[in-house]
Each structure stands twice: as C-alpha cells, then as structure tokens.
C-alpha cells in the first residue's frame, strides 16, 4: 500500500509503569499480587450521567448508564486510597523526578506548576470513577524529527480479573504517558518510534519490566478517514501490523461508503418484533431468546459481510456496538443461512420485512430491553457506515485487528483533583535533574570500552540485570565473564528448573569473584549457583569446589579411567576421547578447566595406543 498516497498519519501514546517504592498518590508498594492472595473484597456502583458516556446513541447510553456494579479485590498491600475511602496523599516525588528525567532526554519544557486532574473513567477500572493525571512537560523532540507533545504522570488503573471484577494491587502504580504528535507516516515509522521511546524509558532504570508494564495506544487516520485510537498494544512487534490493518480497515470502510451511496442505501427506521417467525427454529441462540427483533438495511446486501480487516467485517463492527447493550452480537443476512437459521426462515423473514434482494437484514435476540437497545445501537452504527469511518476508541485483538470499545473521549472530561496540591517545578529542581545515559549509547560504550561484542552489549543493556552487570564490572569481574554468566548461565539454569530468582545479586557477585581470584574454575559456576539457589551458603558452595584438582590428581584420575577401559581405547584410538571426557568430567567438574581435562586425556590416550 502506498501510505503517502493514502495520507496515513499516526501518533502514539506510550504508557509505562514506573518501578517506584510507593504508588503515585498513596504509600502502598507498587507490588503486583496474585488474585488468590486477596485479603478482602467489596463492591460499588458507578453512577454516570449521559454527558460522561460520550456520544453513543443517547437512548442506548441511558440504558447502559442504569447501574453498573463493580467488584474489587483488596490486598494487604493496598489501602483506603485504592478503595476510594481516603483522600490521596501528595504526589509521589520519586515518580515526578523520573518523569522530569524523561522530559530532559526529550528536551522538553517542564510546566512551572503541575496540576493534578481527575479524568472520568467509568468502566470500573478506577474505584473513584476517575483517573488522576497530571501534565508534567511539553514540546519535546525525537531523533527522527518527530514531536513529543506531552509527558503526563498518571495512576495506573485496576486490573480487570474477569467481567466486572477488578484487582486493586495495580491501581495507583505511577505511569508515565508519553504522547507524540501525529508525526509518523508509515507503519514502520510508528514501530521504530515506539521502540526508541521504549529504549529511552528503560534508560531511566526505573521502569517496570514484563508483559503489561508498557502499553502503546496508537492514533491512526487516513486522509478521508477518521482518527481512531487503538488501545493496549502490548507487543512491540505488532505495532506496524496494527497500523497497516487500520489503514486497510479505513480504506475498505470508505469503499463501502462509496458503494452504499452509489446504491442510495439507507437504514430502515422500523424495528420489528419477529419472534413468532422463529417459533420452531433450530438455532440454539434464537431458541433461547425471549425476543427477536429485526430491521432492514436498504441496499446493504453483500456489504455487511465484506471483510474490512482479517477476520473482521462491517457486520463485526455492528456487533461490537450491539454488545454494549449486554448482547452477544447480531445475525445478518449476508452470513445466513448459518448458525442453525435455515434458508426458509431467512426467506420468511425477508418476506415479512418486505426486504428486497439488494437489502440486508440485521437480527438481534435476547431480552426485551436489551434487544431494543441493541437494535438502536445497530441502526446507529449502520448509519455511520453511510458517512465513512467513525471516530472511535478501539482495542487490539490477537494478530493486530481491532474491535470497537467506545467513542473517542473528549478533552472535556477533566476537572481539577482538588485534594492534591499543585506541585511547583522551580528552575533549581529542573537543573538538578540528570538525564540518564541512553541504553543505545551505553551499549556502544560497553562495546568500545569493555570489549563486549555488539550483540552481547545490546543484550546486556536491554536486560533487567544491567545493574548487576555494572556492579560486577565495577567489582573487577571480566566483562565477558560477567555478561555470559548473568545473561547465559542464569537463564540456562532457570530453564533447567533452578530457582535462580532466589539468588541475590551479592551472591552472584561473590561467586564471580571466587572465579576471578582463582578459588574455583569457571566451569564450577553453574553448580555453585545451583547449590546457592537451593539454600547452600555461598562460602560453603564455593568451598566445595575450591582448591580444584592438582595436575597430579588429574593425571592420576585420567590414567585410572583410561586403564579401566584400555580395550575400548585401543579399539577406538583418539575417538575414545569424547566418551572418556564425560567420565573424567563426572569427577572433575568444577574443579578443573574442561580444556585441561581434554588435554590430559589426549596425552594419556596417545601414550597408551
């Protein structure tokens, strides 16, 4: 696709959890918990007014706003602030300084006084019904010439466990939100920018790591399309694909619009109760429905079922809107007969509704209220197909397609968090803030100064164990030994089931030092670390492998093993070295260098044959 010709424009918002001691507005630790550890739970309703629901069809919105009950899990690491039972503490200074360090890297202008705002969020993920957020800096630049518009500090939302149940451990963890302008024009641009910003974030050494700790929202539009915000892209590798698929979706929706207009298509106003038509239906979904309603989409035939993204059709878009009423989705005539609905039933329905061949029919089934809501939502979305691409907030599905979440939020949903005093950022503080060395620069330095090869250097700087590596190098450990132990050996041990997470950095350093001062051979590292992970004290584990094996001892061992298998050695000659190596190492592992064993064996074999 020629994205320039399409007029593709994209921007990203990156949300990154910070690894601070305490949460943004309370003194709880930023520790994530297992839901099984929860100490209590409570439930609340969130009450919203129509204006806070955005621009969804008003009548449908009113039904939805009725009463929304949410359940929350509490922990011994959460407090009354997360429960929305206590006013917030002052803004976490550590988090603010991390945000300022980032602002420095992007050459931004910090605001002189930070004001915390309440941003309405009524999906239950915030117990209060709003998210606290504050603008910290503006007007930054990216190396590729792009613009970082803002850095905000926000509270992380509660994690949805399932349905309307949320876990409060995550609520309130500080997040930085970095927003670029729509300054990217190809899918690859977007991915590269996200990668760069991710690297900058990790350069602070103060961000949480792992799945879900960084989330990208992508804003995409094409020339005649509309701005669409895609939420929660967690995998960096999928970003370009998400942008490509959104461009494809908007292009196809515009083509559908043109086709609909050419056909003078329209959305039927009348929703009919067609329950009796399906009295004897074999469709399991329609069978259990109290009410079945249907309406006609004049001139839509064939287009409701047209694919707009892999696995997504205009019908899926309509279904998404209907799901907001608590229904599973819709049936539409482009996909029927199917799902137990017979051709005969479709024909009867067409006749009953007076639908022509060029018309499509939408069916919703469920309770009386939900189907009334669903039919209105379906009509609403269908009407928007005549206009082109609706402005929407969408969520990413697996593989990179997206589904509808809610209308785009406006700026209008913010008001001051009066319980938090504004925080001044005086010139003195701003000058004191140090921008950390970027990991890309650090990797180059490791390559040049420490002699790591480029790939290993990159691996080291992007590893969570970077601080440990630096400590090791500072302690005089050879960089290659440190890097290979920390990145290679530990990983392999972990794969083999050793509890490497129990190893304290100080213990790993002590083992490496024992290697460097010649107390133990480097071959002993895996065994020593395994022993330490299993609870043995470092000194003891090192002691068990210390002293090693003298050349004389090694020679005696090698002679004995060769003598025991002398027939085998004579038969195989030098090819016996491999099998015998294993036998000698079983005795000598960790006490003597493998190469030395190999050399001793070679000599002994050549002596006897």
């Amino acid at each position: 696709m020629d994205y320039k010709a399409l007029g593709l424009k994209a921007g990203i918002e990156i949300h990154q959890q910070l690894d601070t001691e305490e949460k943004l507005f309370c003194r709880c630790p930023t520790t994530l918990r297992k839901t099984g550890e929860h100490a209590g739970e409570f439930f609340r309703y969130l009450h919203a007014t129509v204006s806070e629901m955005g621009e969804i069809d008003r009548a449908a919105a009113e039904e939805m706003m009725d009463r929304r009950q949410f359940h929350y899990l509490t922990y011994d690491t959460t407090c009354l602030v997360e429960n929305d039972e206590e006013p917030p503490a002052p803004m976490n200074r550590e988090a603010l300084e991390i945000a300022l360090a980032l602002a420095k890297i992007f050459a931004m202008h910090p605001v002189e006084q930070v004001h915390t705002m309440r941003k309405l969020v009524i999906d239950g993920s915030n117990t209060s019904g709003f998210q606290r957020t504050a603008l910290v800096a503006m007007g930054g630049i990216l190396p590729n010439g792009g613009v970082v518009e803002t850095i905000c500090l926000e509270e992380e939302a509660a994690q949805r466990v399932e349905g309307s149940t949320f876990s409060l451990d995550r609520l309130g963890i500080p997040l930085v939100e970095i927003t670029t302008s729509p300054c990217m024009f190809t899918p690859e641009d977007v991915q590269q920018t996200a990668e760069y910003i991710g690297m900058v974030l990790r350069s602070t050494g103060k961000v949480k790591r792992g799945l879900g700790t960084i989330r990208q929202d992508i804003n995409v539009s094409i020339a005649a399309g509309a701005r669409v915000e895609i939420k929660g892209v967690q995998e960096l590798d999928l970003i370009a694909e998400v942008v490509r698929r959104e461009a494809q979706r908007q292009t196809t929706l515009l083509a559908i619009r043109d086709e609909l207009r050419a056909r003078r298509a329209s959305v039927g106003e009348e929703v009919r109760d067609v329950t009796p038509l399906f009295a004897g239906t074999e469709s399991s979904i329609l069978k259990k429905a109290k009410v079945i309603r249907a309406f006609v989409l004049h001139g839509f035939a064939g287009l409701v079922g047209r694919e707009i993204q892999p696995g997504r059709r205009l019908g899926s878009e309509i279904s998404d809107y209907v799901k907001k009423c608590g229904l599973g989705g819709i049936f539409h005539s482009d996909e029927l007969p199917a799902y137990g609905v017979t051709a005969e039933e479709v024909a009867r329905l067409r006749e009953h509704l007076g639908a022509a061949d060029e018309d499509a029919i939408v069916i919703v089934s469920g309770s009386k209220e939900k189907t009334a809501c669903g039919a209105r939502q379906a009509q609403h979305r269908a009407r928007r197909a005549l206009e082109g691409v609706p402005e929407e907030t969408r969520k990413m599905l697996e593989e990179g397609s997206t589904s509808y979440m809610r209308p785009l939020p406006g700026a209008a949903r913010m008001y001051p968090e009066t319980d938090v005093f504004p925080v001044a950022i005086p010139d003195g503080l701003w000058e004191e803030i140090r921008a950390p060395e970027l990991l890309c620069d650090l990797a180059r330095r490791f390559e040049n100064d420490l002699g790591l090869d480029a790939a290993l250097a990159r691996q080291v700087v992007s590893s969570e164990s970077l601080p440990l590596f630096r400590a090791a190098v500072d302690a005089g450990i050879r960089p290659n030994l440190a890097a290979r132990t920390i990145l290679g050996t530990l990983k392999e041990l972990g794969r083999d089931g050793v509890a490497v997470s129990r190893l304290a950095p100080a213990e790993i350093l002590a083992v490496l030092r024992a290697v460097e001062d010649g107390t133990v051979a480097k071959e002993a590292i895996p065994e020593i670390l395994s022993a330490v992970a299993a609870g043995t004290a470092v000194a003891e584990a090192v002691g068990a492998h210390a002293g090693g094996m003298s050349d004389g001892d090694l020679a005696t061992l090698v002679q004995a093993i060769v003598a025991d298998r002398i027939d085998f050695v004579r038969e195989k000659g030098m090819r016996a070295l491999g099998p015998l190596m294993g036998l000698v190492m079983a005795e000598a592992r960790g006490k003597v260098d493998g190469r030395k064993v190999s050399e001793a064996l070679r000599q002994e074999i050549s002596r006897v044959i």
Binding site: F42, F43, R44, Y45, L46, H47, A48, E52, R67, Q69, L80, N83, D84, E85, E86, P87, H109, P110, V111, E112, Q113, V114, H115, M117, R118, K119, L120, I122, T127, S128, G129, F130, T133, A134, L135, M138, G139, T150, C152, G410, A411, A412, R413, M414, Y415, P416, T418, P422, A424
Partner: protein, 413 residues
C-alpha cells in the same frame, strides 16, 4: 497582568519558553492557572499571559424541569450545605454544589421514583461552621415543612457535625414523621460518590413508617445497604470511610437495602404518628464540651466560668484527675450544670466505683449515663434553654428524652 482576566478568557502564555494557549481559570499562589485544549490545567507565570479573546457568553442551559410524580408522597429537602449533589463545568473544571430540588433530582435521578419534593436552602456552610442558632433555624424549618404537609423530611448536611445537628433537632422537635439527615463522605462529583445511594436510601427512610429523627448513611464499604441510626446515638467514627457513621449503645434502628430500597425497621424504631408535631426551640448556647487528658490544668476548667453548662468527656467510667475536682466543684457552686460522659463512647458512666468519681458526685457532677458526649452537650443546651432549677435540670439530664439514654446496657461494643 492577570488580574485583568476573568475565568473563561482565552489567554496565551509562556511555559518556560514554550508558547501555550488555554482558558484562564484563576490566579493562585502567584501562578495563573490555565486549562489547555487537552483538558489539563497547568500553572504559568501570570506575567507571560496575554489576552486572546474575552470569555464568550456562557450558554445558559435551559432550566430543565424534572417531572415529579404527584401520586408519590411529598418529601421536603432542606439543605444546610453538605453537598449530596454537584455539577461539573468541564470547560473551567469548576464543581458547584447543587441545592434546588430540580438540581438534586437531576444529579440523583432515582429520587424521583421515591417521592415528590420541595427543596429549600437553609444554609450553605461547611458543617464545622454550624452554630446552635442554625440548629434552631433548622428545627423551625423542619417544623414548618411538616406542618405544611411533608410526609417526611430530608436534611442534607456535611458529615463532620451531622450528629450534633441531628441530636440537637431531636430535643427541639417532636415529630410524627421521619426526619432523616443525610450526607456523603466522598465528594458528589465523583461517579463513585456515596451521595446517590445515601440520598435514595434516606428518601426511602423519609417515606417509611418512622416517626423520629434519624441519620441514614452507608452501613458498609459496599454499596449494599444504608443503616438508619437514631439521631442521639450516632457518631462519625472515621474521617473518610463511607461507613463512618455508627450507632452506639444500640443497634441501628433500621436499614434500607440498595438498590431495592426496601426499608426494614427494628422494634426500637419509633413509628410514624407516635407523637404529635411540636417545636420547643430554645437552646442555652453558654454550654461547653471538654475532653479531659492526664495532666490537664484546672485553669482550663476555670475558663468555663460564666458558662451555664459543661459536659466533660472524662476517662473510663467518668473521671477527671483529683487536681481538677476543686475547679469542677467551683463551677457547680457558681451555678453551672456539669455532666460527666466518657471518652470510651461505649458504655455507661459510673462515678461510684473509684474515689475520684465519688468526689465528683459529691461536688455535684451529674452522671451522664450512657449518653454520647455530643448528644449530652446538645441535650444540656436544650435542657438549660428550658429549665433553670438545678434539681429539675439534673432530673432531665438523667432521664431518657429522645433515646439518648438507655436504661439497660444490652448492647456491647
């Protein structure tokens, strides 16, 4: 300069050299607060602000009249300043408290299925600024509403001193209908506010078979039900939790389930029509409430010279130090009524067990039985407002007038 701007003006400013434009909100702490197009507020140097456009005429919302169902019972809403309804202006971020019946019904639409309402504003103050004379005005306003036909009265009140006001009104007013105090612990602008549930449960209680003054607030941290508390036995026991209000010395007199709004009253609750409407609105304001602490100087007691009444929140069974007894005796000899209550809040005062207690009794201290200190204070104000004979004062203070004294301590903590 920024003092030439008014809220809503569009201004240009500089944020450390970065040009910004937004809506001028206010000047605070030497900074101009500007709301940017994104909705964020920031503080900027007021000297950098220049006017782009004056505030446009704010579009006046057509006053949407909320339809009221004439078949439902008529309830009065009297506002004293506690906000159970508020409105957010997202343009400026201003949150304003709402007091008219229409505004309250718009903020809590569920109310309109419970009753039809007349709303009046008695005061718009923070509840810590309440005074005995406003309690009197409140009793009079409630009296008038009931006299004019209200089947129940809702009093919206800040939670800090709600228990004082409710108990004060209890003594001043004999009511045949429910008078229900209600507030919210969490601000009304937030979607999670307890205002909706408290307001609806209180309205349900105000329409129920109740004939006394009550406080209706969240019973748990869940949005599951509200407790109906007797006004003279309730106290705010937490600074911020929704279920801050707790009955003392007795269980709540009822509960209202949410969202069903089913009202369950206990046998203790006084029923509708049990007494006839009457107002006795005299209060003696020269009364105090003193929290004793170890080492308290007798001079502090002497500062109450000239007061007609003093409630002491003493230690344990109802004590002050031996060194203070003299000062207590002097107050009583000068004509003041001194009533002993306990800092324990739970349990009954008994000054017959220890020497200091016996000395206090011989000095003329009145044992406040199991009254809460606050309910004893408002009672003393009312008793002294209506009675000056020390013996009759003593008899009234130790008699149960409005449920503030229980003859038996049948309820534990």
């Amino acid at each position: 300069m920024s003092d030439t701007f008014t809220t809503g003006d569009i201004v240009a400013a500089s944020c450390r050299g970065q040009p910004v434009e937004g809506i001028y909100i206010t000047d605070r702490d030497g900074m101009a607060v500007v709301k940017l197009g994104s909705g964020y507020n920031i503080g900027v140097d007021p000297a950098t602000c220049t006017l782009v456009a004056k505030s446009g005429e704010t579009a006046v919302q057509p006053p949407l009249t909320v339809e009221q169902d004439e078949s439902l019972p008529e309830l009065a809403i009297i506002s004293t300043g506690g906000t159970i309804a508020s409105k957010i202006d997202y343009r400026t971020g201003a949150v304003t408290s709402q007091f008219t019946a229409d505004d309250i019904l718009r903020a809590i639409p569920g109310l309109s299925s419970i009753g039809r309402y007349r709303a009046g504003v008695l005061a718009t103050i923070l509840s810590e600024n309440m005074t005995p004379s406003i309690w009197q005005d409140l009793a009079r306003a409630i009296h008038a509403a009931i006299r004019d036909g209200a089947a129940g009265v809702l009093v919206t009140h800040g939670t800090d001193t709600m228990a004082y006001s409710a108990s004060a009104v209890s003594y001043m007013l004999d009511t045949p209908v429910p008078v229900v105090f209600v507030g919210s612990q969490r601000s009304a602008d937030r979607p999670s506010s307890d205002n909706v549930m408290n307001g609806m449960c209180a309205a349900a209680a105000a329409g129920a078979d109740l004939g006394e003054i009550a406080v209706t607030m969240h019973a748990t941290t869940n949005d599951d039900f509200c407790a109906v508390h007797r006004a003279t036995r309730v106290r705010k026991m937490h600074t911020s939790r929704r279920d801050a209000f707790q009955s003392h010395g007795m269980a709540p007199i009822g509960r209202v389930d949410f969202p069903s709004l089913a009202v369950h009253l206990t046998d203790d609750a006084v029923r509708r029509g049990a007494c006839t409407l009457a107002l006795h609105d005299r209060l003696e304001e020269r009364c105090g409430l003193l929290y004793f602490y170890p080492g308290m100087a007798p001079e502090i007691l002497r500062a109450y010279e000239g007061y007609r009444g003093l409630v002491i929140a003493g230690t344990g069974l109802g004590h002050v130090s031996t060194g203070c007894i003299r000062a207590v005796r002097d107050l009583i000899d000068a004509g003041a009524a001194v009533v002993m209550t306990s800092q324990c809040l739970h349990g009954r005062v008994c000054d017959r067990v220890y020497d200091t207690g016996r000395d206090l009794l011989s000095a003329g201290v009145i044992e406040g039985e199991d009254m809460l200190p606050e309910a004893a204070l408002t009672k003393l104000m009312w008793v002294l407002g209506n009675e000056s004979d020390p013996e009759r004062v003593q008899r009234l203070m130790t008699a149960d007038l409005k449920g503030e004294i229980r003859r038996r301590s049948d309820h534990g903590l």
